[in-house]
Symmetry: C2
Subunit: 229 residues, 2 copies
DNA sequence: CGGCCGCTTGATGAGTGTCAAGCGCCGTGG
DNA sequence: CCACGGCGCTTGACACTCATCAAGCGGCCG
């Protein structure tokens, strides 16, 4: 059974955010809802021709960029309600790969629908522009973060996940990180051993409790003391 | 005396790139040409309300992002023909500051002209989207670079400047870097001393010749051997 | 039950930041 | 015209963060 965009509880994060009801309807008609993904499934691959934007309905996914040397970097962890695929807009090819981190489901807005949609949703271009610009701002944030000490990076990462999950109705103090230590390292520019050690360190300080991928935040304020701002 | 967009020798880099002659004309009418800037002059400040896109006609400028801790990071060095200001599109406020590195001149496309322009240039939205996407891809590149060893970063920086200057008709092997060592460091995530030492190192290896801000590239291939691809 | 993968923990070293001193160039003012 | 002062740059010594290498543990799945 498919959920219409107007009934989707993620609409305030997703494309419909800021649209009129009639516009959401037009969007709804253009969107395709896709069979579930499993861990490791690839939504799109770096180099593939750009053919759609994607919105996550449930689960998590990672946006991975491989540089010339084959070094993998995780650009972002995608949470439900988020829209991705903008990395293909400029060149017509995706610059990154989008890969499911667990069993997930998503919606797809085919690229060929965009011209037609703009008749029903005049503001769609500026909305896309805003969202693409947001991705750029996010990348500014990440670049600044990557130059900070390891402690700050990990603290900021945990807090970022916490607030984004909270906004989606999940507990901000108790959640599962769907990334391995290696992947967290790839995201923060750290070795997996450093990630593991820092988790241990934060735990010893009583800031968090770590059980594998399960994180309990015990002292948000102290954690915030590490991450800049 | 003002140069029309259609007569500007930078048009193939600038907004007119890919436009029809009539579209360029409409663009030309919307653009304002601005008095020259001097070193240190600020085109826009982080936090200012987004009110225009900017194209550089001559000179160079730096796009600076300051993180919460007051740490300055130079996102890009802007060369003639390049368009900037996209960092203000998403939130309506500029996320960075754009500052002249030397005596420069630029054109301005006021934000309030965009709706009107889209009537004459239907493709303008997708062009803007492409350019904003390009900025995102550039930032991916920079993020990957910042995690590489210092030698690679500096080599890649010099080669990047070289090719971009070459594309604009300047010598690819002999040019002036308008940044201080500190600013190069801010761009590459290095201390200014490291930048200075690496220049000395490359010079000792016979790859380049350095005289203050003047760079001669003596062995491009060897330099390419450092930067990843 | 066995093997593998993800994780932890320890030891070591390389790559860079930091601190410090000194040099040269250039613009300013006497 | 020259002396002075400041800024940008170089060079050296040192410290420290974090990557790397290595070993071992535990849980999960076949």
């Amino acid at each position: 059974m498919q959920v219409a965009c107007s009934d989707c509880n993620l609409s305030r994060f997703c494309m419909p955010s800021g649209m009129q009801p009639k516009e959401v309807e037009a969007l709804n008609d253009a969107v395709r809802r896709i069979r579930p993904l499993h861990k490791g499934d690839i939504v799109y691959r770096a180099g593939d021709q750009f053919n759609a934007l994607f919105a996550l309905k449930s689960g998590t996914a990672k946006l991975v960029h491989s540089d010339a040397g084959g070094n993998e970097s995780i650009i972002t962890v995608m949470l439900p309600g988020e829209v991705l695929g903008f990395d293909g807009l400029a060149s017509g090819r995706y610059a990154c790969s989008l890969i499911a981190l667990e069993t997930s489901s998503y919606c797809e807005l085919p690229a060929h629908q965009l011209p037609r949609l703009s008749q029903f949703i005049p503001s769609i271009h500026s909305m896309l522009l805003q969202r693409a610009g947001k991705k750029f701002e996010d990348s500014l944030h990440r670049m600044a973060l990557i130059q900070r000490p390891a402690e700050e990076r990990l603290a900021a990462f945990v807090l970022d996940l916490s607030t984004r999950l909270h906004a989606r109705g999940f507990s901000p103090s108790e959640f599962r990180i769907s990334l391995t230590r290696q992947e967290i390292g790839d995201h923060l520019g750290l070795a997996l051993e450093t990630v593991s050690r820092l988790f241990g360190h934060f735990e010893a300080l009583g800031l968090i409790r770590v059980q594998g991928k399960l994180i309990h935040i015990l002292n948000v304020d102290a954690l915030r003391g590490y991450s800049p701002h």
